[in-house]
Subunit: 193 residues, 2 copies
DNA sequence: ATTATCTATAGATCTATAGATAATGC
DNA sequence: ATTATCTATAGATCTATAGATAATGC
């Protein structure tokens, strides 16, 4: 094929990044091979290297795109919707069952912590984007003052969701999510005072 | 070699489980191959299957052993040492730099969430052992009343440690850990009232 | 004689590369 | 003519198995 103009190739790249993001969140980064990732996008293995220098390069792109999407989703919430709504949606009983549509941090955070600097920088930048839109909702007058407290509260939500996924006792898992909401709201409230 | 009596084989198995635990926490479960795990224990690939039915079987054994060790370490703390000491040790600035000696949940939780039921059951059982020794310290009279609150607080600590590892900004990472201590203590205090 | 471990290997899958192919823009 | 994608493959590594080996307990 060929010469669709730049936009076609860029569109293909975007498709690879999107389908890879879903696959990474469902199966894990390490467990997802390039042939599978490309098949998900309707392509074959060899075409991968026309778009990415390496698998790490893709992972960095996926991390940036996923966190950008999460930031947009939160920013798009109605202006009057509060922190409580964000927390309840995040720690809903459905979220653990749908990793492919879910939070990239909850699905990949321990793997990201072992990735090279390029991936971790993409993660750091992307996450701060997410944190800042939450902080802006919490403290519209001085968002940066809330940054670290929002960061720590978000980290707690991520750990809670991961743990809810790992537990085999569904009832306990649901209780955990409920308690997690209470903790997150209390921690955000401290940030609010 | 041979016939050292039962104990020799059991000792070897324990060694494999211990060195594998360290390797899993440093490199990840999926990224650690059996040949590497066995070499870490001073053995070769083929001997693995005399001890474990499959890699998942090893993972379940490692998860149980790691959480048992964490439970013992917490239970061994002096009786007068409080929750604050546990939290400060967990969220110390050194912990993120030493995954091999660190918390198994922080190193493996998202991978465990994708493992089969055998591994997740081993995780659930082992973690509840850890949670219960903490709950017993917090509420000696009625530990089970604090279980879910301790579970949710612990989940928050796990997420905080994972995030501290993923961020490339060391200063921000240290601020996060500090804020995480404040949140964990506040959440435990709620559990205490 | 027993058996824990080793050597060797099967068959699958991994990341990455090289050169062929085919579909479009000039 | 250009180039996005495909086919084919290299070389490494993965999990798992089969049979050989060697070191000890009886």
């Amino acid at each position: 094929m060929a010469r669709y103009g730049k936009e076609h190739k860029e569109q293909t790249r975007r498709r690879i990044v999107e389908t890879s993001g879903r696959r990474f969140k469902v199966d894990g980064v390490n467990a997802s091979g390039i042939a599978t990732l490309m098949a998900d996008a309707g392509l074959t293995n060899g075409a991968f290297y026309a778009h990415f220098a390496s698998k790490d390069d893709l992972v960095a792109g996926v991390v940036a795109e996923q966190l950008g999407g999460q930031r947009e989703a939160i920013a798009a919430l109605p202006a009057d919707s509060g922190i409580e709504q964000i927390v309840r949606a995040y720690l809903s009983v459905e979220h653990p069952d749908h990793p492919g549509d879910g939070c990239p941090s909850a699905a990949m955070l321990d793997e990201i912590g072992r990735c090279d600097g390029v991936v971790r920088r993409a993660y750091t930048d992307g996450l701060l984007g997410v944190i800042d839109v939450i902080a802006a909702r919490l403290e519209p007058d001085d968002p940066s003052s809330a940054r670290v407290r929002v960061l720590a509260t978000f980290a707690g939500m991520v750990g809670t969701l991961q743990l809810a996924r790992a537990l085999t006792d569904r009832h306990l898992s649901d209780q955990l999510l409920e308690q997690g909401v209470a903790h997150a709201l209390a921690n955000f409230a401290v940030a609010d005072e």
